[in-house]
Amino acid sequence: MQTTEKRQLQILATKARLGAVIGTFNAKSGHPGGSLSAADIMTYLYFKEMNVDPANPSDADRDRFVLSKGHCCPSLYAVLALKGFFEWEELYKLRHVGAMLQGHPDMKGTPGIDMSTGSLGQGVSAACGMALAGKFDKKDYRVYAILGDGECEEGQVWEAAMFAAHNKLDNLVVIVDQNGLQIDGPVCEVCGIEPLDKKFESFGFNVVKIDGHNFDEIEAAFENAKSVKGKPTAILAKTVKGKGVSFMEDKVDWHGKGPNKAEFEMASEELNAEIARLEGEC
């Protein structure tokens, strides 16, 4: 990937992180940790990978995205706002009464949201349904779903995995945001999911392991997924929970709470400085 393009993506991802922090601060709740860990992948999807048009969010031929770990919507909302699906100002009203942006994605109320999610394990199945419809209709669109690593404890994830492989859904890419932490602690301590690569492989997936914050690796993984026929792809992305806000990084405590005013100011300062630094490099 060209350096300039990479910088642009990094700037957008940092802005998405800032949006997630703005949202969860103003909501006094929400899930910043996982929002920040998945921000680079979501940015790549909407600004590089996916064929979507904010002016026509229900285009039948568009690529689809399902945030199966629906609680990490603050950064998805920020990415959608950056892409032009709705105004950035909506982020300030996240989780407020009467607001468009719900605590978990609502496809009926928010342009650009392809599936309502929030109950873990269900989004990936819905993504299978979308991919199946694409195959059935002989359409070229692709379907992307981001799962949490803790979410992989849900049995439905594996029901969906079996279905996807059985039906040769090579138009489906599942990305696991492996930040290693869930509400009750480290995933490996709560109820270990490893070896995740072998699990997906044995379920019939093409598996790619990457650093989920490295745009070169992210790009290579999605390109690899497109080249593999006859089976779905699972991208296992090693990430850092809270990535980009130093005091949130790798802290389970930041799974599900909004920053207070002082924390918000610290986080904003850090992210704005990073945006300025990246812009200086362009």
């Binding site: 399902v66 269900q122 199945s125 819905a126 349904g129 991919a131 199946l132 029901e159 279905f163």
Partner: protein, 315 residues
């Protein structure tokens, strides 16, 4: 009157789907390894490329149906009522109900008439569960002809629908030449002014026979068939309460949360009259031949006639 057709409503449902699929290529059918039993196998045989077996994974099936519907399909997801609405309740609520997706859920082997398989398979809670989901239409057809019409209406309706199917072959009583199905509208099958019997599903025909018996005994009993439990026909219930002053509801379902409660919701707020809820009284079923079980649970002609006599005596 047309000839009586003896057929399980699951079979009528399978036939209806095939017929509708001829004209509507958006219909696709999903099952969870019970196609032979739910009779979606009839569709599978006719349209193998539009049928998807999800294996024994009902929750996954419901969410897949949700995904298919976002892409313009009209997915019909079938399993036993117990697993469709019980096992997969939360998937239906969050992935289909909340986004109000155009998915049709078919629950076969509903009620104690499932028979020998016993309590684990005799679903007595499906109507209650599905009624609690905002925007869900709940259908419980009573015979072959009603099931054909209800399936058509379910497909034509835009939004989630639950349709209850029975395992047991039952006699038809509707005349296809005159029968008219209207979603959300009850059908007055017999006029009467002393008391009203409101029934749904398989027991409607039993209630019909019981009402005929009472008529011969000199009583005037109104009989209403409610095929759409949600949204319920409020007008027909209010009218019956006002004109007959006493109601008996009959269903092959737990008396908690089913037709009886739907009727009571209307009656208590609009026109308070005594309502006797006949059904399964907050207990599980058990194994046995279907008709023997229906008899034991008081859901056949004889049991229903007895209840009507008891309620008439209270007037």
């Amino acid at each position: 009157m047309a000839d009586v057709v003896t057929k399980a409503t699951r079979e009528s449902f399978g036939e209806a789907l095939c017929e509708l699929a001829k004209e509507n290529d958006r219909i696709v059918v999903l099952d969870a390894d019970l196609a032979g039993a739910t009779k979606t196998s009839i569709f599978q045989k006719a349209y193998p490329d539009r049928f998807f077996d999800c294996g024994i994974a009902e929750g996954n099936m419901m969410s897949i149906a949700a995904g298919l519907s976002t892409c313009g399909k009209i997915p019909v997801a079938a399993s036993f009522a117990m697993f469709a609405t019980g096992r997969a309740y939360e998937q239906i609520r969050n992935s289909i109900g909340y986004p109000n997706l155009n998915v049709k859920i078919a629950g076969s082997h509903a009620g104690i008439s499932t028979g020998e398989d016993g309590a684990t398979h005799q679903c007595l809670e499906d109507v209650a569960l599905m009624r609690t989901i905002p925007g869900m239409t709940v259908l419980c057809p009573a015979d072959h002809y009603e099931m054909l019409a209800a399936t058509k209406a379910a497909i034509e309706h835009v939004g989630p629908v639950y349709i209850r199917l029975g395992r047991l072959a039952i006699d038809s009583f509707n005349d296809p030449a005159t029968y008219k199905f209207e979603l959300g509208k009850g059908i007055t099958m017999h006029e009467g002014n002393e008391i009203t019997v409101i029934a749904t599903g398989l027991v409607v025909n039993e209630a019909r026979k019981a009402v005929e018996t009472l008529e011969k005994e000199g009583h005037s009993v109104r009989l209403i068939n409610i095929h759409t439990i949600k949204p319920i026909d409020r007008d027909i219930v209010i009218k019956a309460a006002n004109e007959t002053g006493r109601i008996i509801t009959i269903e092959e379902h737990n008396v908690i949360g089913g037709l009886g409660d739907a009727v009571c919701d209307v009656v208590t707020s609009e026109c308070p009259v005594p309502v006797r809820k006949v059904g399964v009284y907050d207990r599980f079923g058990y194994s046995g031949p279907a008709w023997e079980l229906l008899e034991k649970f008081g859901l056949t002609e004889t049991g229903i006639a007895e209840v009507i006599r008891e309620e008439l005596a209270k007037k």
